[in-house]
């Protein structure tokens, strides 16, 4: 399994070929459309992160020491970034998720979408992904260390 920074580098490389913002957003929109569908049973209010611009549904589960995420959004550009975040963080260990700074978002020039003022649900989504990781670590890993 690739590490978080290996996956981040791969995404940075993918975006590097586009120097025009139009192409970059076209690619992001494609990523949004390609986001694997979340299981409908997880698309419930309890998993909803409401922003005043767009909303995100996020579900996380723990299997064999790793955290797996699925998510959705009502806006396709938000979905594109959600897709990137899932590619990078899903399948990683709780500790790796807790420790990451997610520098790739800045490197590919999409940092503005993670500004709290955008209110698109993404800032809360990352916080929520880290909370999932922390909860799974506490629940499964600290217990077994005893």
């Amino acid at each position: 399994m690739e590490t978080i920074s290996e996956k981040e580098n791969k995404i940075v490389d993918e975006f590097e070929i586009y120097d025009d913002w139009l192409d970059k957003y076209n690619y992001l929109i494609e990523m949004g459309k390609d986001l694997p569908q979340i299981d409908e049973k997880h698309k419930v209010k309890q998993n909803l992160i409401s922003g005043c611009q767009s909303s995100v549904w996020l579900y996380g589960e723990y299997r064999d020491g790793r955290v797996y995420f699925s998510a959705d959004s009502d806006a396709v550009i938000t979905k594109g970034i959600v897709n990137l975040l899932i590619r990078v963080l899903s399948g990683q260990t709780p500790q790796a998720i807790i420790d990451t700074d997610l520098v790739f978002i800045d490197k590919i020039g999409l940092k503005e979408h993670l500004s709290p003022t955008r209110s698109n649900g993404l800032v809360s989504m990352i916080k929520q992904m880290k909370l999932y990781a922390l909860a799974f670590k506490t629940k499964y890993e600290l217990k077994s260390e005893k």
């Binding site: 957003y25 076209n26 611009q53 767009s54 938000t78």
Partner: protein, 406 residues
Amino acid sequence: MNFDVEKIRKDFPLLQRTVYNKPLIYLDNAATNQKPRQVLQRMADYYENENSNIHRGTHKLSIQATTAYEQARQTVAQFIHAPAAEQIIFTKGTTESINLVAATFGERFVQNGDEILITHMEHHSNIVPWQLMCGRRGATLRVADIAEDGTLDMDDFKRKLTPKTKLVAFAHVSNTLGTINPAQQLVKLAHDAGARVLIDGAQAVAHLPVDVQALDCDFYCFSAHKIYGPMGNGVLYGKKEILEELPPYQGGGEMISEVTFDKTTFNELPFRFEAGTPNVAGALGLEAALHYIQSVGARAMHQYENDLLLYATEKLSAISGLIIYGNSPEKTGVVTFNLAGIHSYDVGTLLDKFGVAVRTGHMCTQPLTVFYGVPGFIRASFSMYNTRQEVDALADAILRSREMLL
């Protein structure tokens, strides 16, 4: 009067800037509009030459600043045709004006079982203060329905106006739909039912002639920053006989007449509602903005904006899949829309990249998103300095965004 938009644009320094290496097309004027140099200069001049605390000093500067501040009050009174300057209370903005009335009018006049009537198209700042007040006073907040075209349902308004209604509060112009409410008629109906009336004029003052005496409203509020003035200053107009009956809002300096530890007597209007050092530069900036409008010619400005609205409506309506919300026959320069099957956030994000600044989201009118069954809207709103070329650029950017998103 000849309306020369290119000459006007030169007065607005911010309009000269670019975003993402493109000329800025600023169409978020209903959120706040840009400031002419005359306003900025007046405020700088105050701090450079007149700054001192008002209403207290005997020294030259303080007298000069006090005179200027009171002159600004006079200018505001004339602009909205208030009978006297003492009926103009300076606040931080429309929101504070409404909260002031909700707190003081509520305390003095609203009892358990009374009702406050608003409309479905109100901005959150004309909903939440009444909700809070109703909670404190045991009163009920009632909401008059709107029709699909974004106009007020007059029958429903009349139905919900009852002998229990103590106050009616409504937007002169809807910030999301642009609807101009029949204010004079609503005030008359409310008065006939024995209710007082507050008009939220935040979206009206820059786009319509406002005459508070002709309207006969009991309160009228607006913000300086939506009429080419600075942020942090606003106005509450009130009828004298009602203002005089209201208890104080905030306590502090300026609003008192005599203070002992046993008892305080309060200053006269309008000072009793202006506790603490006010935003003097803000009031002077507002005055400069009103003078600016007068120099341009208010009537010519309104006419120009109306022509631009008609042009924008025609231009955007021609885009297939574009749905306009708010089709009131009486409307100001706001076009709120969505593209069928596309989220407003996506459109707003791409329009921004094309250099077009619009507002997206719920516009602080969440009940309207529920009414129209959408997560949000996209709003292009115009000021006197916008042009047909900018509308064309907006339409072009919408088409290109739609192509990318569909």
